[in-house]
Amino acid sequence: MNLTTQSAASQPIKVESVGFGWPLIGCAGRWLPSGASTGFTLKCFRRVPRVKVNVSSTMSGRVLVGVKRVIDYAVKIRVKPDNSGVVTDGVKHSMNPFCEIAVEEAVKLKEKKFIKEVVAVSCGPQQSQETIRTALAMGADRGIHVEVTGKEYENIGPLQISKIMAALAKKEDAQLVILGKQAIDDDCNQTGQMTAALLDWPQGTFASELTLEGDKIKVVREIDGGLETIKINMPAVVTADLRLNTPRYATLPNIMKAKKKKIANMKPADLGVDLTSRRRGRYRGRRSARREEGTVY
């Protein structure tokens, strides 16, 4: 494991090693109980010199970013009276915060000229187009809206989304798929991993740092014991964690420009994806017990 050492000096000391997609095993570092990023490691592998090279010509230079329309994080969620779900009508929706971080990272890669095009993808009803427009205002080049409505939309889950993303990644010849690590409404944390498995691509999940080096990606992952650095081949799937970056605000001129960018419409059947849910049973919400105000003697 690679762990950063926070010493009295202001700069943390990072020790890097090459794992070719596997975490280092047999670390002789000491694990301290407090804080996620203290400890040290032995340098076991030969260090590969870091060479920043622009994307090679064989790659398409295209990044797919998944964005999900969820209830805004600041809204107080209310359960429907019949306990069948949460109230969504008239409630403010916005882009999932982790998806915002994913879009920001993709746009940053484009600004640094590592990739050529950012495509924002969203699956859902007509309103999902607003979420794609926000991604376009942040700097994505074009959008794809996969239309899923009604009963199908209520039952859709990470498995179906990952099938759609995998099909799109192949169709668009993407070299990188960046997703948020999880959605704030279901907290599943499954879509990224399932997409990678369906594509048989390497995955760098919980990324807090992302660097493209030739046709490989160096990902610093946030894990329970601290930080882990891995190097994976492209094409790959990366999921964004909280500290990857700070998403930019969409400015008015960019929102105006985004209105002219294209959003392609398609249905899951066009991608050959079957949306049947493997889940049984329906959502059953329960309000927590009411707390009564009493007198303290």
Partner: protein, 495 residues
């Protein structure tokens, strides 16, 4: 004889001063009128929204100032303007004082219930209503704070730039006419409130610019909106405010520059403004403050008066702005001009300014800080700063200075031991001298924080008898029984 007189005077001053910080708060026992009102309160807003709990009352009796907690007798949590109006009618009938409460982040004791009474905590009314993107306006309820509104607006490309530092309620900011670091470019609350919905002392609901109206400008009738902005809850309870929004800046650049003396720093500020640079923030930290920040945040700024600048605009215009400003600072013997555009580097450059409050507190651990607040015309700023620093040194007070020099407004963060009455007395005299110094320079005794409890006498000196008479007349018309936040802004007539 003379020494005896002066000693007597000192004692009475000390006594009066200590009393201002240790007021006889409220009614210890609930009176009969409150008991009968309580059942009316409960029937209006429900059992769970009326609180007599001691912890809840104490929480609603203090803010971020040094004034002691004066808890109200009861705290109400209304949910809509109809409830506020009905509750206000009950209070009016029973003659109970009404104290509106937003987030309790005020700095002048505006929420202290000096005569007891009923606190209206408006935090349950937290909806953002009526956003009009093309018209650049939004209407919010009192429970919406500044950061919550900007988070709500993040997809729209709009923001509300008035930034007083704390995450304050927007209606509370309207009530105290708040300002902030962005005022030099975007203005204060006075310029950015289009309309207010106010519940008056007798329960009637007033729309200061007409119900639902939000034109960007108007010349219709008396300017009631700006009458209530800054009234600090003494004229009515603000239950809705319509705010002017601005576009999020396309790009932001931050810069830092040190100067050998205060005069040069202020000269640079004046010249930057005269050159027409639309600077967004221009903040001044004196050498004592920079030293404190260096120690607290482990930075290495040169220990000299320093300006922190921020520019908003498009990429091209930013280049021009930064170049013009750099030339001006260099011609004023400025050194170490650094600037940055990337978010992380900007954060690091401005870290000293952001942590200023905590750095000042860290100078003397275990002490509290009191922030003074005066505003003078720009040309008098160097003189008042120099005189204030001499005053601080002469009276052995720790008072690093941070200021919004673009407006001529500065704060001394006086760090004081709250358990030492002698030091508190020195601080009190110092703040009075500072306010009088500012008044003598055509300035004001409070630039942003409001009058509240502690500056009522200074307001009288600043405004003069006629203006105070007019203010008292307005208060008598809108609140003849003096139930709205009594004891604030205007002195009681007996004195």
């Amino acid at each position: 004889m003379a020494s005896l007189l002066t000693r007597r005077l000192q004692f009475s001053c000390l006594h009066r001063f200590l009393r201002s910080f240790n007021l006889n708060c409220g009614n210890v026992t609930r009176c009969a009128s409150l008991d009968s009102a309580l059942s009316a309160f409960r029937s209006i807003c429900g059992e769970g929204r009326v609180s007599l709990g001691e912890a809840v009352r104490e929480q609603h009796g203090k803010d971020e100032s040094l004034h002691r907690c004066c808890p109200p007798d009861v705290v109400l949590f209304p949910g809509c303007v109809e409830e506020v109006s009905a509750l206000a009618q009950v209070c009016h009938r029973h003659g109970l004082p009404i104290i509106p409460f937003g987030t309790g982040t005020g700095l002048e004791g505006g929420v202290s219930a000096v005569k007891g009474g009923v606190c209206f905590s408006l935090r349950n009314m937290d909806q953002v209503l009526d956003l009009h993107q093309e018209d650049f306006d939004v209407t919010v309820e009192p429970g919406v704070t500044r950061k919550a509104l900007n988070s709500y607006l993040r997809d729209t490309g709009l923001w509300f730039p008035v930034d007083p530092g704390a995450d304050a309620s927007l209606c509370g900011m309207a009530a105290t006419s708040a300002s902030g670091t962005n005022a030099v470019r975007y203005g204060t609350m006075r310029e950015n409130v289009l309309n207010l919905e106010v519940v008056l002392a007798d329960g009637s609901v007033l729309h200061t610019a007409g119900k639902g109206r939000r034109p960007r400008k108007t010349s219709a009738g008396y300017n009631l909106t700006n009458l209530f902005v800054g009234s600090e809850g003494t004229l009515g309870i603000i239950t809705k405010t319509t705010l002017r929004l601005y576009g999020v800046p396309e790009a932001v650049v931050s810069a830092v520059c040190s100067f050998p003396s205060i005069q040069e720093a202020v000269d640079s500020t004046v010249q930057v403004l005269q050159a027409g640079v639309p600077i967004a923030r221009i903040e001044f930290l004196d050498d004592v403050m920079i030293d404190a920040c260096n120690r607290f945040s482990r930075l290495s700024y040169p220990v000299m008066p320093t300006l922190f600048l921020e520019f908003h605009g498009s990429e091209q215009s930013l280049k021009e702005q930064v170049n013009t400003t750099e030339e001006i600072t260099q011609s004023n013997r400025g050194s170490d001009f650094q600037w940055a555009q990337e978010a992380e580097t900007r954060e690091r450059l401005w870290k000293a300014r952001h942590d200023a409050w905590y750095a000042a507190l860290a100078l003397r651990p275990g002490c509290k800080a009191y922030s003074t607040d005066v505003c003078v015309p720009l040309s008098r700023l160097p003189q008042i700063l120099v005189e204030t620093k001499e005053d601080l040194i002469e009276n052995r007070l720790t008072g690093p200075i941070a200021g919004h020099v673009g407006d001529g407004n500065f704060h001394c963060l006086v760090v004081v031991d709250p358990s030492d009455p002698e030091e508190l007395h020195r601080v009190h005299l110092f703040t009075e001298r500072l306010a009088r110094r500012a008044l003598a320079m055509d300035g004001t005794c409070t630039g942003e924080h409001g009058v509240g409890l502690g500056k009522r006498a200074l307001l009288r000196e600043e405004m003069g008898a006629t203006a105070i008479q007019v203010m008292q007349g307005l208060k008598d018309v809108l609140d003849p029984d003096n139930v709205m936040n009594p004891g604030k802004v205007l002195q009681p007539r007996e004195i």
